[in-house]
Amino acid sequence: MSSPVIDTTAAELLKLVRRPAAWVLLAVAAVLNLIFAYVVPYLSYTSGSGGGMTDGATPEQLLASTLPDQLVANTIGGFAVFAGALALVLGALMFGSEYGWGTVKTMLTQRAGRGSVLLGQLTALAVAIAVGLLVMFGLGALTSTGIALAEDQAINWPGPLDLAQGYGYGWLILLTWAVLGAALGVLLRGVALPIGLGVVWVLGIENLVTAMATSVLDALEPLRDVLPGVNAGSLINTVLVDRSVEPAPGVTDAVGEGRALLTLACYLVVAGVAAAWSMRRRDIT
């Protein structure tokens, strides 16, 4: 007989593959990434104009920022804010929907204990994010190759270690946001409130605290430096190669690489433990 964790992971992946919302989230993440990392800079380059997010960069710098050697930065550059918010939505949907549909009782009356079910769900979430990230890297590679061929530019890829590091950092960032969403889904037993709170946090609170700490209230810096978005942005900052173009929103040098890694890992563990505590202790009524 197979392991309950493996069975739960397989069941979760089966659900996820057929869930339209999961594909919509992946499509939105991929399209936004392509637009901001490739389409906008390339169109600015071809029109010979700057402005907006490309302000200050020369046309040559804009073109250079879309070429294959920038694949890592271009793929995970937006993970601190928009892709992070989408990952949080995925986690909240995946875990909170079970309460909204009442299917949590269906899951928990089959075979696996509560701990195994949660572990299986988290494993499926980690696998889904790994696959989604692979798709985003693939689309970025295709797009940048297309631009390089169209503009007769050399095709130079990042080294294997840089690719692996970027992929790993991107996976950790998205997984952290997704598990935070999952924990909110389990703790609040639903979807709407976790998504609402999570998105307000990612897009509102983090920006507010960061802006206040930077401009008016230095005392907020220690608080800013433990925020998940700031640490995600700091991790992304370490993989940027070309600094001639304005980085994506949320990318910052507020904390160092090691601390950012540790902080995100702590969020991951704390969110997972909180979800496990809630799932194991509370009655399913």
Binding site: A10, L14, K15, T103
Partner: protein, 309 residues
Amino acid sequence: MKIAEPVVEVRELTKRYSDHITAVDRINLTVRRGEVFGFLGPNGAGKTTTLRMLLGLIAPTSGDVGVLGQRPGTPAALARVGALIEGPAFYPYLSGRHNLRVVARYGGVPSARIDERVGAVLRTVDLADRADDKFATYSLGMKQRLGVAAALLKDPELIVLDEPTNGLDPAGMRDMRRLIRELGTEGRTVLLSSHLLGEVQQICDRVAVINHGQIVTEGTVDELRGDAELVVVATPSDVARDRLEAMPEVENVHPTEGRLHVRVDALHTALVNRTLVEAGIAVTELRRAERELEDVFFEITQSPELNHV
């Protein structure tokens, strides 16, 4: 006769939500292998809370529960139990077939057997024709049948069905009754919770009645229904009542709506008739009438002595 082993054993089981709310109050219950056991009670009596405790969804405040010799909610117990609790809950964006595949995965059905088991249970509940339609498009009756199909996937020894006929039309209810009866004859144990007393009377071997969180009676359906009554319509009615009450063979006379309900052994029916006629009383109707489980249920659940309200 050899007594079958207990499949569900509940001792002094209690669930309190606060000092003021006791959903289940020190109940004792034994369900034996191979029987179809009815768990009756009005809405809010504590049926679903009890069943959820048997499945590990709710932690008891106190008391002991054994399910197939295991603690409730443990993988060892769940692997041998199929359940439909308080309505079917599935993924609306998946078809019936894919929902069952997902449940089979959760249930640890070996990969090689999943399609075979899913096909078999879909045929059992007569849902094969609509198996590839999305769950969201199903009628309430179809959803209920899918819920029963999911409960059967693991080929369980114990099946717990909470109000399985909710939302079914008369034909669907008849089919469901037939299905539950078949499950009972296949050697499985069925624990059926319902407030539809007619269906319980037709299906169950034994029943327990719960009200205000307490078991108020337990026994076979026949034990609960008791002996059949004699219904007498006679004129003058008050004289007939006096004569019947004077008979040593008669246990009890209860007048309702112009009729006298007489508790007396069936062997004495002719004697009752003769006694009344010889007393000059005109007997216009005399027949035996069995009490329905519904009558017993209302007597029990509405009796102040039997309910600690």
